[in-house]
Structures are given as structure tokens and as C-alpha cells.
Symmetry: C2
Subunit: 308 residues, 2 copies
Amino acid sequence: MPNFSGVIAPVLTPFGEDGSADADRFVEHCHWLLEQGCTGLAPFGTTSEGNSLGIDERMELLEEIIDADIEPEILMPGTGTPSLADTIVLTKHAVEIGCGGVLVLPPYYYKAPSEEGLYRYFSEMIEGVDEDDLKVYLYHIPPVAQVGFSLSLIGRLIKAFPSVVVGLKDSSGDWSNTAAILDAYPKFEVFPGSEVFLLDGLRKGAAGCISATCNVAAGPIRKVFDNWTTPEADDLQAGISAVRKTIQSYPMIPALKAIMAHFRDDPEWAKLRPPFTELPSAEAEKLITELKSKYNFHLDFDDEEDED
Amino acid sequence: MPNFSGVIAPVLTPFGEDGSADADRFVEHCHWLLEQGCTGLAPFGTTSEGNSLGIDERMELLEEIIDADIEPEILMPGTGTPSLADTIVLTKHAVEIGCGGVLVLPPYYYKAPSEEGLYRYFSEMIEGVDEDDLKVYLYHIPPVAQVGFSLSLIGRLIKAFPSVVVGLKDSSGDWSNTAAILDAYPKFEVFPGSEVFLLDGLRKGAAGCISATCNVAAGPIRKVFDNWTTPEADDLQAGISAVRKTIQSYPMIPALKAIMAHFRDDPEWAKLRPPFTELPSAEAEKLITELKSKYNFHLDFDDEEDED
């Protein structure tokens, strides 16, 4: 029985007018994502601008969503930083408040670390956190972090910490890498970092996907997950892949926030923390027009209307 | 009158047996570096494994050295992190306890940020810190951080914050880049990130150097700085360049710590925080032998002997 499976959103982080993280919009977005079909939430991932948030901000936001009745068991917050000390602080905090898992980047400041160095980092991290309930998901995203997890490092960590190192998000964008991990470690919970690989992944034993686009397309992605053994699976997959490809032809995080701002009719949702900048409005309009005309794309926010 | 000039060491951070930062050895090393001829200290740089330290660890260590009677005016701690929020916390703390400057990395998690995004990051950082005494030194180290400062970004920041953005450490390893910055912004305090470029830099208006090797060779480097207008300058420069080239033919940070461990006769000095690993002992012996035989290299620690 896996700890996590299905459709997990790396939750976008909304910012207020003063640039601070907006806890109200964040909580609202988490609830809405679960209604849309997400089976889990991964706050403070790359898409969340998680690495642009402070240590304290991350812990406070996590407490906010748990206080707002989101079950901690479905949360897999990003807790990896370049610093072993800060990573231990964030990880211990996440486990102590009940999070079902943590998604941990390798230390990514120093480039080309040795396998032994990364092994020691994770060993010391796990020993430093010292919590029986710790479930670590390795976060492999070499296009951004530059530092990644080799097949042999993954194997060493699974062997040394079989009940702790239980899965991996593969955002390499390289299906052959995902396939190699699934072949080598069949019981490992592997999540491709894009829904483009969801059906191929499920057919090979993947646990689901953790993908940026789940922030605006969780429903159709969930449909693939629920129907992957049925005859319509390939058609459903083709549909979600097409939407993904349209969105990722724009800068991904600004594009997702522009989509949220448009359909929520809330321009502030488009705000990003530096070093990101908003999608220029002409680009945002082009993206929305393209999504509507090609895919009849629409997002509903009934709850909010009910509350008015 | 520049805020900083001369020979600045990015101070190595010693670690104790349990992996925690060793404040006693750290303070001792800072005092010794100043005796050796350093004009300033830059704790928590790349060489310091600064990005492997936690936010709290950095603030505590900084307070320790000031409590140990190191003048805060000569301190230029590294305060840059991927997070705007944490960078503001560290920078404000450094200014409040009197540090003469701060050395600030660009946010380095997200790759290929726009110039506008980096400009906004530094603008919001400076406004967020909101201290009249803030002096920012931009930390340009693209081989590690991947994200750097273009000539035009430097110009925008100087123009917008002329009394705050006062200098830059150029660890690009590319002399033509250092020369271009010196040409474009003659009053800017530019420090090459290696003493290999010290004499060329001084002749072109550089303020000195901030270099890893200052941890073990501050005396001879200072001699170049003090004598750069004299006939023997080129010979002195050739001497320090040769030592640098020998050391950097090994992994730099492990090599420097191995040198400290050897000459202090203190094996614990060789410890590094993951993802770094110690220089294998055969390599360390080879390096020490090479330094001794080629350059009659030696480090003295008279103070410690006196205390015995």
C-alpha cells in the first residue's frame, strides 16, 4: 500500500499586494484543488516558488492549511534547501505536524557533488530529523537544481533507509530515466513530474504524477488516473498532453498564475515573487484565448460564488 | 574612500565531531587570518560552505566573532539565499550588528531569470532591509550559482541605489569580465575572486581580492597588495599565482581544510559538511608535500603555542 498515489499538485503560492505570501488565497486554492480531483498536495515545490519562500514562511503556510482542515496525511511539502541544517528544521516540522511525506531536493548550491557526498547528506538529514514517521520522496529535477539522483544513489538510499526513502518525483523530463527507475526499484513510489508521462508511467508501475499543470487541470488528469486500464485511456491521455504542451510553450509558473487570475477574475493572483515576473498581459490573453478555442478550457469556482 | 579594500578571506567554517559548526575554531581562525594580513573577512561565502549552513547558524556564528572582538566594520558576510525573505533576514541582521558590508548571491534556484526579475529581487531586498548603513557587494559566481550579474544589470542597480550597491566580487574566473566591469564602473569596488588576478586588477582600479586561498596564504597575497606599484610586484604576483594553481588542482575547499588540519596538527579541521567529502588522505599528503617542496610552504600558529 503506497503512502501517496494519484494526482498531486505542487500548489501555486499566491502573493499579496505587499509581496508577502497570501495565506487566505493559498488555503482557498488548496481546498479547490482537492475538489477538482487532486489526491494529494505538494506545497513548496518548484511551481510553488517554494525556494523563494523563507524558512519561517514555509512553516507558517503549512500550519495554515492544516488549521484549515486539510488532512496532513495528504501533504508532501518540499523541504529541501542547500543547507543540511535548514532542511532538517523544515523536515522535522513537517513530520511533527503530521505530513504524510516530504519532497526533498538535493543540496543544490554546490555543483557536481560526489555520490558519497549526497549519500551522507541524506543520511545525516534522516538521522537529524530522527522521526519514525518520516517518509522521504527524492526530488529529481536536474534541469533546475542541476544536482540530481543517479540510479545507484537511489539504490543506496533505499537499501539504507527502506522504510524512509519511499519514492521519487522525476522532473528530468526524460522518460527513459523514469522507466529505468521503475525497472530497478519496482516497489518505489515513482511520480513523473509531468502528466505527459502519466499513462506510460501507470502502465509501468508509477504511483501517479506530481505536475505543475495539476494546479489548473486536475480534473482531466485525475480522469486518466481513474481510467487508465479502460479503452479510452489513450484518448484521455492525448487530451491532457495537448493542454500541457500549450501551457508549457509559455513560462510555466507565470502562465499558471495568469490562468488562475483570469478565471478567478482576480488580477492579484498573477503576482510572482522575484526573480519571476508576470506574464505580459498580451501573452496572457493569447494563452487564455488559445486554451479556450482549442480545448474549450474553463475553470469553475462555484464555492466562492456560493459564499457571496 | 572605499568601504573595503585589500585582502579578504572567505573564512573557512570548521565543523565539530557532531557535524555542527565549531564556533571556537572559527573565532580562532578569524583572529589568525587578521594576524596573517587579511584586511577584511567574508564569512559564509562559497569557500565557507556558507550555503550549507542554516539561517540561524549563520547569525549565531556572526555574533560569536563580533563578541570575540573582531571589528564588525571589516566583516562582509555572505547573506544571499534563493529566498528573498531569508536574504532580508540575514542581511538586516548583519547590518544591525554593524557589518561593514554584505556579499549577496543572486537567487540561484530558478535558472535563467530575466534581468528585470533580478533587478526587482535586489530592489525589494534593499527596500525590505531598510537600513541606512547597508552596503551591498554583488556576488558574481556563475560557475557555481549559474545565475550571475550582467553588465547592464550591475549598471541599473548602481544607478538606482548608488550609496548601497557599492561593489562586486567577480568569481567568474574570466578576467575579461572583471576588466569590463572596471571599465564601465570606475568607482565600483571590484574584487576578483582569485588572487591570480590581483595585480592586473589593482593596475586597472580593482579594490583588492576576495579569494579562497587567503585562508592559507594571506601573507604573500597581502605583500602583493602592499607592493603593487613597486618593481618587485610581478615577481610577487608570480609567486602567489603558482601556489594558487597548485592548490586549485585539488578540490579547493577540501584541499584548504586539509592544509589547515596538517599545519594545525588538528585532524578535525579537515571535516566538511555534506555534500562535500574530505580529501582522501593520500591526496592530502601529496598536496602538502607538493606545497612544501615547491614553495617551502609553511603556516605558523604561534599564538596557540604561547597559550600552551
